[in-house]
Symmetry: C2
Subunit: 223 residues, 2 copies
């Protein structure tokens, strides 16, 4: 479904260059549940941003099916990000002056076959809070609204950057169940960055990053 | 050192009232390492904000030694927050247009006996990134700068809201070591909200919240 081909991403800041990703080649299969792990600063968010069309490699290329994302017009890339991808951001990125429910409706306006916003909130246990603003929600509640927003778009690809970081064990387990439903019942392809070992155990594959490179890949025979 | 006496905190939003904390009574002892756990939305951040003078209870009171925080002038409460408390926020709250190092220097300007900012950054493994802005740092790197900022103030009380949420296992362990140094060598009182089981195991006490109340307290005999 997706392929990174020798993708590198360097951040140039004045005289300093930070190599966030170095020569990464990775195939992502349709319908798989892929987990990405690695130390802080190892390049996980950067890699996910390349897959989601949020950023471009400084070398190499990122392919969605037979399309090199770098060849897309701004308009087509925007459509890729809005319709094909559901992104759960490491910093949630909720719109502060919209309610929980409104944050979902603006994301799903353009979707082909979205979930009902209230249903999406119900899936993360937050339907009673739908009229509250992000500032009125706890850290874990904001994270769950961010998850509901991505899931409600009903995208082909669900990209989740530490989706259970602010969640306790049992709320995190509920989310894991939700992601597995997305994969098993709706056939979605799911990529999750996480430190949560339980998520790694149910994945099809675990890719470990270290200093901007893929250090190892582990296939779960019976996830 | 600190005491919450029947403290309650209700958030009134139009017609809706959310009871974040209900009748919480808790003593916090000088030099202890206290961990707070509980589900998303159970009131942990709200409780920590009361202890840190960032918020006031709607009922009951919060005492620092023999002072009811509600009786302090704005000026004295500000001094309490700036000098007595080091706060690691759940959302980091770094100043976006200051570098990592500058974020620490502005916090320590008023401190009696602060750490050198570069030393604080070294303690969290980020001295090479001191001239970079928050937007140029990964999630875990921003969290570590937030920790360095709180520690550098050399406060009496270190309040940490999910300090390892964005950190992988080994970086989280390094932070845990740092917190234990703060307690054992510098005699600081430490309160940590976390889902990280390893931190709970080295604490003196673990307080579990549920729906705004203290559900149980567990004393670690040999942490
Ligand atoms: N400013 C606010 N306005 C309205 N409600 C709030 C506000 N802050 C918190 N709440 C509500 O109070 C309750 C407790 O919130 P709190 O942030 O203390 O939870 P928490 O235990 O820290 O959760 P998490 O683990 O998700 O961070 C939640 O239901 C939350 O939505
Ligand atoms: N916008 C940026 N400008 C400069 N450097 C950046 C930028 N974004 C990331 N970096 C750097 O690139 C490297 C990889 O960052 P990335 O965010 O991908 O790490 P990560 O694996 O997601 O880390 P974490 O687990 O802490 O979230 C880090 O050294 C980071 O500081
Ligand atoms: Mg990241
Ligand atoms: Mg919280």
């Amino acid at each position: 479904l997706l392929r990174l081909a020798s993708a590198s991403r360097t951040f140039q800041m004045g005289e300093v260059a930070v190599v966030a990703l170095r020569n990464v080649t990775l195939d992502i299969y349709e319908g798989e549940f892929l987990v990405m792990v690695g130390p802080s600063g190892s390049g996980k968010t950067t890699l996910l941003n390349l897959v989601g069309g949020m950023d471009q490699p400084t070398e190499g290329s990122v392919w969605y099916r037979d399309i090199d994302l770098a060849t897309l017009s701004t308009r087509a890339l925007t459509r890729y990000r809005r319709e094909t991808i559901g992104f759960v951001f490491q910093f949630y990125n909720l719109i502060p002056n919209l309610t929980a429910r409104e944050n979902i409706t603006v994301a799903t306006e353009i979707s082909q076959d979205p979930l009902d916003p209230d249903e999406a909130l119900r899936l993360v246990g937050l339907e009673p809070r739908r009229d509250h603003f992000p500032a009125q929600l706890s850290g874990g509640e904001q994270q769950r609204v961010s998850i509901a927003r991505a899931v409600a778009k009903n995208p082909e690809l669900l990209l989740c950057d530490e989706p259970t970081g602010a969640l306790d064990f049992s709320t995190g387990k509920q989310l894991l169940w939700l992601l597995l439903q997305m994969k098993n019942r709706l056939g979605k392809t799911i990529i999750v960055i996480t430190h949560n070992v339980a998520i790694g155990e149910v994945a099809d594959r675990v890719v470990r990053l270290r200093s901007g490179e893929i250090a190892e890949t582990h296939v779960n025979e019976k996830p």
